[in-house]
Symmetry: C2
Subunit: 255 residues, 2 copies
């Protein structure tokens, strides 16, 4: 078997956030698999490259298909948005490998880092991740909601800045509001800065700055990344109608 | 004031992980400031570009210098490793701005995302971040050690995968061992996969796979990123002497 499988990520949206490593892998690939809208971001395939678009609920089937193609000797790339290791295709590939043909484990499978959404969202507003932080997916398609709540409670107990992925979709309209309620109940104060960052790096990017007391969860959709500050996160006012910077200082003095 | 200040990150080491956006900003900058070893990664400056190297304990002085240069009308870039918003220069710039000349708040200051170390370290071993995770700096230069311990406890309480930055230096030799002890005491089991990823993306990259029971903290240095799995993180054995993949499945079934 001389095939290979590279798992790559396109970043959150701006093509100038795709790493040169990923661009080179995609140029060399003979077979490229991914969720349709991600493949559409790549432009037309070069001569001899095949594209395989699938739905975003078909990750395991896509991973098996990719492993099969690699086992047949093809040079394969699987595309995620953001970074492929953060709520994306890399885990799906290893799940498929663990449950699949034992020969797949001998394949040349590599994962290549990208810019994950939280980094781009944070950069847009300042430096809210300047201190320790947690990353939590609100989707309960793959885990019980009780575990989400347990993790939100832990984020408050540790006074972490919190980044929330997969906050909403048409099938999951209530989770983000419930998460904000839980954070308030667990003791995160109403004045805490909250950022809703939608479609970061794309033409229709939209950034909303709010507080935990007044944020409207209905403003988020499936392309929105949500940041919730720690007790230290603050807003830095600016003149002339410019939006404030949101940032978390590096220093925490002893209480 | 027509100057500008862009805060950028070079990724963890491999030049092919620097985004095209960051490459373009650095090519256009008239003044580039940063920790000496990061500036050394850039190659020689173009004609008309000035470089300002400083020590890694001088972040606030560097940030003030950068803001001063931008206020004087210069096109300025400040360079971090990794992503500039994760334990890096972006927060230092906003701290300096908050305490400094009020005119600095009107400047054109932007932050640009990069590949942070945890993404590259995770990619090297598989997909350990496939589920919710926490990012914690073990440095107590800027925060009390009690807060580090509180956050480690919270990470265990929430069963998060844990990424540890700033784990060791000559001046801070004991923190990583103490952190591993705390995680064991808080209930993370001895079989939990642990990864020590040093100098990822460089010629002297070294990846150590261990468990929480047998990991040797003395193997880490100031260029090491540490990953500690959740209760779900597992190793996937491979044939022919290949190292196992370390990954965290996306799915958590109800207990």
């Amino acid at each position: 078997m001389s095939g290979s499988l590279a798992v790559v990520g396109l970043g959150p949206g701006d093509p100038d956030w795709i790493t040169p490593e990923t661009t080179a892998i995609l140029a060399a690939a003979e077979e490229v698999l991914g969720y349709g809208p991600y493949l559409a971001r790549l432009g037309p395939p070069r001569d001899g490259q095949r594209r395989h678009a699938s739905d975003n609920r078909e990750e395991i089937a896509r991973a098996r298909h990719a492993l099969d193609l690699a086992a047949a000797g093809r040079r394969v790339a699987v595309v995620s948005g953001g970074d492929p290791g953060v709520f994306a295709m890399a885990s799906a590939v290893f799940e498929a490998m663990e449950d699949g043909d034992p020969a797949w484990r001998a394949l040349d499978v590599t994962v290549h880092p990208g810019v994950t959404a939280v980094l781009a969202a944070a950069a847009r507003v300042g430096a809210p991740l300047g201190h320790d932080f947690c990353v939590v997916s609100l989707s309960e398609n793959l885990k019980p909601w009780d575990l989400v709540l347990r993790r939100l409670d832990a984020a408050v107990a540790g006074d972490f800045v919190l980044a929330l992925y997969n906050v909403a979709s048409r099938a999951r309209p209530w989770q983000l509001g419930a998460a904000f309620d839980r954070l308030r109940q667990s003791g995160r104060t109403g004045g805490t800065p909250v950022v809703l960052a939608a479609a970061v790096g794309r033409a229709d990017e939209r950034i909303v700055r709010a507080t935990l007391a007044d944020v409207d969860p209905a403003m988020a959709d499936m392309r929105t990344l949500v940041l919730v500050g720690s007790s230290r996160t603050r807003c830095l006012a600016r003149p002339d109608g410019r939006p404030p910077f949101v940032y978390t200082p590096r220093r925490v003095d002893p209480e």
